[in-house]
Amino acid sequence: MKFDDKVPIYYQIKTHLYHEMLNGQLTAGAQLPPVRQLAVDLTVNVNTVQRALGEMITEGTLTSQRGKGNFVTTDTTRLAQLKDQLVMAQLAQTYDQLHAFNLTDAEILTSLKQYIEKRGIAQ
């Protein structure tokens, strides 16, 4: 995995795992690889992986079972909430950028609709 070295690595690991949880690579209740395996796969050290997983356990997107490992939560409400958060964050970023081009809300909506329609035809 390629990292942006300006952003804390533990934060990027969390983002990476969130994406796998939302795109279906890691489903609700799925077991994560052992910490050391994740460290090797992502070429980061074990402490950094542990920090990322620790925060995700605290916030409830992962659960830890003693002696068994770490699992994606089976709490689908929590996962839906996570999805909302990430969608909102992505929208906020896009919206702010478009706003900076002096587009009005109505223009942003129109552009977005046009874009989606075009994409629909292209595909």
Binding site: F3, D5, K6, V7, P8, I9, Y10, R36, A39, V40, L42, T43, V44, N45, V46, N47, T48, R51
Partner: protein
């Protein structure tokens, strides 16, 4: 968290020339720490001082012991295989390690040797730079101890070898062991590191958390490191 290495008031001169002065450093257990600095800054010297292969003034403790014998026992450092004749074969070097170090695990060595594709019958003189570094990694990490020192394991090796060396470090460094790894080029190992230590101006100038640099300063480790060398750049705040 307990202390893996502590250095107090370390001074070292060679031929009356100051190499290191007033060095202070404390490393916690279980960390991977990058030791950075320009060529000739004193990184290798610092490692030799830690193991007692060089004698300076001041107090160096590995774990809780400042005794040189204990420090040697608790520190795994291969120092570029200095002292081995060039015609020595890999399996003879391995035998030597097995004899000299009670904490050397042949099983661990063989696992790594397989992973790194080391040929036991090869002579040291026949090894490429990359293969030699792989051998050093396998020998160093096959010992089961508290502190590991790796001196520029990536200098002059190709990118495939580098990847294998990095994977070996991540796979085989024991939990709760501390690993100090020197390099003069931080970019390729930045994602591995918990902390960086910079040797500059004949002293240990900087000791900082890697994610602390990214989090608080919002810069890449490499940019931060380079800024230390700019006139009027980041001060040597510890």
């Amino acid at each position: 968290m307990s202390t893996a290495l502590s250095i107090q008031n370390l001074n070292y001169k060679r031929n009356r020339q100051v190499i290191l002065h007033d060095g202070q450093l404390t490393l916690s257990t279980g960390k991977i720490v990058g030791l950075l600095g320009e060529n000739g800054a004193g990184k290798t010297t610092l490692m030799r001082l830690i193991t007692g292969n060089a004698q300076g003034q001041g107090v160096i403790k590995v774990g809780d012991s400042s005794d040189v014998m204990h420090r040697k026992q608790k520190t795994s450092f291969s120092d570029h295989l200095k002292g081995f004749d060039k015609s020595t074969k890999i399996n003879q070097v391995v035998k030597f390690y097995q004899t000299v170090y009670p904490d050397f695990s042949n099983d661990r060595y063989q696992e790594m040797a397989t992973f790194l594709q080391l040929d036991a019958s090869q002579k040291l003189t026949a090894l490429s730079k990359g293969t030699k570094e792989k051998l050093i990694i396998a020998l160093t990490l096959a010992r089961q101890t508290e502190l590991y020192l790796l001196d520029e394991p990536f200098s002059g090796i190709d990118s495939m070898s580098r990847k294998q060396v990095i994977s070996s470090i991540l796979k085989w460094t024991p939990d709760n062991a501390t690993l100090l790894i020197s390099d003069h080029y931080v970019h390729e190992i930045a994602s591995l590191l918990d902390e960086i230590v910079v040797v500059k101006d004949q002293t240990i100038a900087v000791h900082k958390g890697a994610d602390e640099i990214r989090d608080q300063l919002g810069v890449e480790i490499e940019d931060y490191y380079e800024s230390l060398y700019e006139v009027g750049g980041a001060a040597d705040d510890k």
